[in-house]
Symmetry: C2
Subunit: 164 residues, 2 copies
């Protein structure tokens, strides 16, 4: 079971696009912590992911969003900072091995300031999408898309192995 968690998202287009991506990649649950934008306006960006948006759980705190989950994966564009243990990060393609059959939350931060150190500290792993050293900060929903694609890919190849 995969839950996508958006923490205090600020852009309605991002919320809409994430709902669409959840539909594109068969994600089970979308949780939104304390949205800072209009969720209703997000609909125009969700396309056929509209039902995902309508069924999204809006919660008041980070802790509520990770309830009932066995594994919490935080994400950040700042990783592997020297001497900072909070910043030791895994890569997207390592996710599937870590996840196994567990109930997992994939946690994405605010467009403006990402996740707080406290939120990262509450998570089991930090995930970093490798990108240009000069500018590794992806837009929120594009980061979500890449992570969900990597999960799907491995799931897909696993399925292919099973049926062949």
């Amino acid at each position: 079971m995969i839950r996508v968690v958006l923490v205090e998202p600020e852009g309605e287009y991002n919320v809409g696009f994430v709902a669409r991506l959840c539909k594109n990649f068969d994600i089970d649950e979308l949780y939104i912590v304390n949205p800072k934008c209009n969720i209703v306006n997000a609909e125009s960006f969700s396309a056929k992911g509209r039902d995902i948006l309508e069924n999204a759980l809006i919660v008041n705190s980070f802790d509520d969003a990770i309830k009932g989950v066995e594994l919490k994966i935080a994400t950040s564009s700042i990783a592997d900072t020297k001497g900072d243990i909070l910043r030791k990060a895994i890569r997207p393609w390592e996710l599937n091995d870590i996840i196994g059959g567990k109930k997992v939350a994939l946690i994405f931060g605010r467009e403006s300031v990402g996740l707080t150190r406290e939120e990262i500290a509450k998570s089991d792993f930090l995930l970093y999408i490798p990108a240009s050293k000069l500018y590794p900060t992806l837009n929120l929903s594009h980061a979500v898309g890449i992570v969900l694609y990597e999960l799907w890919k491995t799931k897909d190849s696993r399925k292919m192995k099973v049926t062949s």
Copy 2:
């Protein structure tokens, strides 16, 4: 050399996000064929990819956008349709082997109707990002992000091999 080509994009947010993604993943060139939206408004979505947007080449035709390129990769959410040779598609992770050191255009279609059969026929390969059978149609800029990430990843791991 990698060129990203957007054919008649309709959403300014998509154009802006693609410029940002080009910066995130060190893409050399952005070409836009006959944009159907306001490129100036796209800026607010480009973040630190603003210079990419300012330097993007706006051209009038598909043929102008693929000039000087050795390999043309079209993309579509409709792939491997039975009996349709135009629709036999490669997957993102196969890209790097095909590309080698060539001058390549990665070609993305209109939000509303994708690429025409004529445009696909002019390309050397069709690329499909695997996603849910029920809804494999990604938003334009999210499809771009996933393809650029896959290219970057292999480039990255190649770099790591070289330095280790």
